[in-house]
Symmetry: C2
Amino acid sequence: MHGGDLDAARKLFPGAPEPFVDLSTGINPHPYPIPALPPEIFARLPEPASLVRLCSLAAKAYGAPSESNVVPASGTQSLMTLLARLPRPGRAMIVGPTYAEHARAASLAGHDVSIVPALDELGAADLAIVVNPNNPDGRVHALDDLLAVAARQRAHDGLLIVDEAFMDAGPRAMSLAGHVERGNVVVLRSFGKFFGLAGLRLSFALASRDIAARLNASLGPWPVSGPALAIGEAALNDTAWMEGARRALAEASQRLDGMLNAAGLEKIGGTSLFSLVRKADAQQVFERLGRAGVFVRRFAEEPRWLRFGLPGAEADWQRLTAAFRR
Amino acid sequence: MHGGDLDAARKLFPGAPEPFVDLSTGINPHPYPIPALPPEIFARLPEPASLVRLCSLAAKAYGAPSESNVVPASGTQSLMTLLARLPRPGRAMIVGPTYAEHARAASLAGHDVSIVPALDELGAADLAIVVNPNNPDGRVHALDDLLAVAARQRAHDGLLIVDEAFMDAGPRAMSLAGHVERGNVVVLRSFGKFFGLAGLRLSFALASRDIAARLNASLGPWPVSGPALAIGEAALNDTAWMEGARRALAEASQRLDGMLNAAGLEKIGGTSLFSLVRKADAQQVFERLGRAGVFVRRFAEEPRWLRFGLPGAEADWQRLTAAFRR
């Protein structure tokens, strides 16, 4: 099960007070303010010139060499499917445990998928996938180590995908975005998590001009919606908002960690958009919170783990505090 | 060049009066009224239950057997790419001339692409593609003829794609939507054209449960945006609006044809969303209209053709009339 499925939460906890406090995702709870959207944003086909502007702003915000290195798409998922099909079906190696959709996409593309625990075990994969910082444990891979993996992939013409979905509020100096032009590397950036607009479905791949051109050709002339273009343009140009959001997320993350610590949950990792904790009775904690209308993320394969996203409104923070005290 | 690119129009006709009257697309100029969109539509990940509701409404509106036969996607383009990759690379045969993106998607998927003039020349294609009614000439293929093609494709396990992008305002009794469950057939429906919301990026594939499940797996858990889900749900449930729109489009189409006829342009086809005309000096007509700020669609490969979409506001109708008189 993915995060954010409140319908599933309601089925699990039918008596819980509504509305649920949804902490099951890693999405900024204070979204970028949506600008006025004139009706033609919805009515007309998005124009090529506006797509170029969006790519140019994304290149600047993410640190890619130029707008020709940017591939805008309706969510990371559609990019994963395309990317997994760039190499011929072969060996896909994924550093994990991590976000499960990568293994699914690679497997659908016909690859033989293995999960390996560390970068130096990626070997000579046809498709190597690293999530940096990692979800759900927040593990950060150093830029030099990733550049070494990229060089090895280049040597045997394999592809390296680095999913930087949580990089905007993270250790941005570790981003590979500035190093894509040499080839064999694709960086994924998610717009919706940091900007708190996951429903908009907007993501970017950053790659060499060659790979970017191939991906753009596959996605066709209208890869993102009018609303995503308009809001993306405004948000990626708003450096003041981005700086403020980074500060606010860091503060909120500290507050969350204080509460988790007070509740006796051992933090084992995270980013400023979520914290991962471990506890022997994590399933009971999940149940107790759920019955109080606080929905967090659990992991079938790691029953002692829980992941907490950030509460937004002060009332949601209070409900989390109260739920822990029950 | 695709329709709707007003930036290109401005470059071609730098002195034209603004705003342009854009008749270069086949999109309903009177969009479905956009309902109020609460902020969480943009902020939250779309929920699985709301996707199921959308599929159920689409099945009903389009005449597919059930919601399990429906694949929602962010525009037809993303579906074309996936569909072209369902068969192994082989022979793709497309009834044309038609919308050029089908040939491009099939070619990118590795098929050897041929354009054939009629259904009975589709032969034993691995991938057969028919646009019904056809764009730009409006040619309608009869249901029985298409069912015969479907049976032939089924006999050698080839795939038939029927792109019904303009069917909502057309001869709906010819739709293959009700016949997809037997397999080897995928019907494409575009939401944005009939509902006048092309910027929303919402389309559907209708297919057997098996094929639909494979396509849905490829597209992943969030194939369409929150705004597309919310607006799509409201619109596909609004049969009164749909009936009214069909009447209004038929009337507008008659009015347009009267004007084209008065201007000495010979109508050679169309749907109620666009009319295709032929004239020896079509390029001069294109230039004359363009200089008057009326942008229509021309075709590189057919220089005597012009395609006219419907004007919306009365002022736009008047500007078209005036442009013809210059």
